[in-house]
């Protein structure tokens, strides 16, 4: 066992391996140490990251790992991973077509591919493929264009005709009267990951490198001296900081308002669902092309699926029934056998919907305060690259090359990244 010196409670780390599994199997599983230190807040940190979700934790990990900055705290108002990192549909992919997006999400995909080795943690990354269905000639052309854009960036993409989709997913509605499946765009390297394990893995790895993870610590205000952020006020006392990074997803506007910032963001609720567990039936991630619906099967057997946001501003982590009906209708149109299943659970998460549907990783007008927000409902797949690029920005004060388009001022300059072409209306993205 590798014991690390720590100024803050007992911090020890066991390297997870086949050997440690075998030893603990013989040892009555009594020797596993806590995965991360439950740290007490110190008076000062070089960098404070607000938000102990996937993006905040990955930011802290890469600050320590890539930039050698370990005097870092992650402040979480609830318990670790209680926000969107534990509320998503676990899909990872890099099938984007806009120039500002494609390299960023591919960087994320590559980090996913090496994540478990980098963290020494089983995040159950499963590259089972992401299949986007098309139903019309026009949609096929648009998917071909997107697939070509991906391949020009060195990303895998395959345009499948109807017969090849039928081989892959014979249960889809190929004979549907309104939206027959005509083919699909497949990214084989896409897939799913175990969402909670991503948070736990980053937390453990960051904590081992010396990062303080402070739970039940809500930020209540900023200490601003002569136009510069010098620290934060929290429910566990004031904490001084050289720099402060915000990675608080749906609560972005709420926290930014404490620094008198108005942002191009609306918070909306997105619901997700899981069915009872059944034997393996869906081999990959499938998305509907004639509505908003995406589905995969978890390793426990439940079908995990979701659709559109409810479409009105909300900070309540629950949605309303019209959206439930809409999602289920889309699912039934795509794979009618879904109607034989019962929904076991549904839940809601709060999305930081930016006005063009793309994220923001940038400085703010307030010196010392940095922003990571606007992930809409695509934040999970971005977790590794978001942390990588936010850490780069916090450490060097320069945007990372693959995130250089995610500027806060793009809404004023007109350089918006509107992947969906829907305009400045979050409930249409």
């Amino acid at each position: 066992m590798l014991a690390l010196a720590s100024g803050n409670a007992a911090g020890s780390r066991m390297r997870y391996s086949l050997f440690s599994l075998l030893r603990e199997a013989l040892n009555g599983q009594a020797g596993w140490p806590a995965a991360w230190r439950d740290a007490l807040p110190r008076a000062h940190y070089d960098i404070v990251v607000i938000g102990g979700g996937g993006h905040g934790l990955s930011t802290a990990f890469y600050l320590a790992q890539e930039h050698g900055i370990t005097n870092v705290a992650v402040l979480e108002k609830g318990w670790l991973g209680s926000g969107n990192i534990g509320r998503n549909t676990t899909i990872i992919r890099s099938n984007y077509g806009e120039p500002g997006n494609t390299p960023f999400y591919e960087h994320s995909m590559q980090l996913w591919e090496g994540l478990e080795q980098a963290l020494n943690y089983n995040a159950m990354v499963s590259q089972r493929g992401v299949l986007n269905l098309y139903h019309t000639d026009g949609q096929r052309d648009a998917y071909a264009r997107r697939g070509n854009a991906m391949r020009l960036h060195g990303i895998d993409a395959e345009l499948l005709d109807r017969a090849r989709v039928q081989e892959l997913c014979p249960f889809l509605a190929f004979e549907d009267a309104r939206f027959p499946v005509a083919g699909g765009l497949l990214q084989r390297r896409g897939g799913t990951a175990r969402h909670d394990a991503v948070a736990w893995g980053y937390a453990r790895a960051a904590s081992t490198l010396g990062v303080d993870i402070i739970q039940n610590c809500e930020v209540t205000g900023f200490d601003i001296v002569q136009g510069r952020v010098r620290g934060v006020q929290t429910t566990r006392g004031p904490i001084a900081a050289g720099k402060v990074g915000m990675a608080v997803a749906g609560n972005t506007s709420h926290v930014a308002a404490m620094a008198d910032l108005r942002l191009p963001i609306e918070s909306h609720v997105l619901q997700a669902f899981v069915s009872e567990g059944i034997k393996p039936v869906i081999p990959n991630v499938v998305t509907f092309g004639a509505g908003h619906f995406y589905i995969s099967q978890s390793d426990k057997g439940g079908l995990v699926f979701g659709g559109d946001i409810d479409g009105y501003n909300s900070y309540a982590q629950r949605g309303n029934l019209p959206t439930v009906e809409d999602v289920c209708e889309s699912g039934m149109a795509m794979m009618p056998m879904l109607g034989r299943l019962r929904i076991l659970r549904s839940w809601g998460g709060i999305m930081d919907m930016s006005m063009d549907g793309s994220p923001i990783i940038d400085r703010t007008p307030l010196e010392g305060l940095y922003l990571n927000a606007g992930w809409c409902y695509g934040g999970f797949k971005a977790t590794p690259a978001s942390g990588w690029c936010f850490a780069h920005l916090l450490a060097t004060d320069r945007s990372h090359p693959v995130a250089s388009a995610y500027r806060l001022d793009r809404f004023a300059t007109g350089l918006v990244i509107d992947e969906k072409g829907a305009g400045a209306q979050p409930n249409l993205h």
Partner: protein, 88 residues
Amino acid sequence: MRLTCPFCGPRDLREFTYRGDATLRRPDPDAANAASAFADYVYLRANPRGPHREHWYHAAGCRAWLVVERDTATHAIGRVALARNDQP
């Protein structure tokens, strides 16, 4: 969630379409700072957690535009009024 339409009474959420923040006011296009004022108007939002004044359209009902006071943390509906009476 149900909204109480001044004409139609309490009606189900699915009859309505959401537009968003009702406190925004279209800037003067002839003003010297019109470009930045319009960027703020189109893109920036207060996005409060709590009471929110917002526009809803009763599309599957009387087709009136409404100003609804709703709590974004609880979804509790407060006062509902016709948008036409809400002009500055």
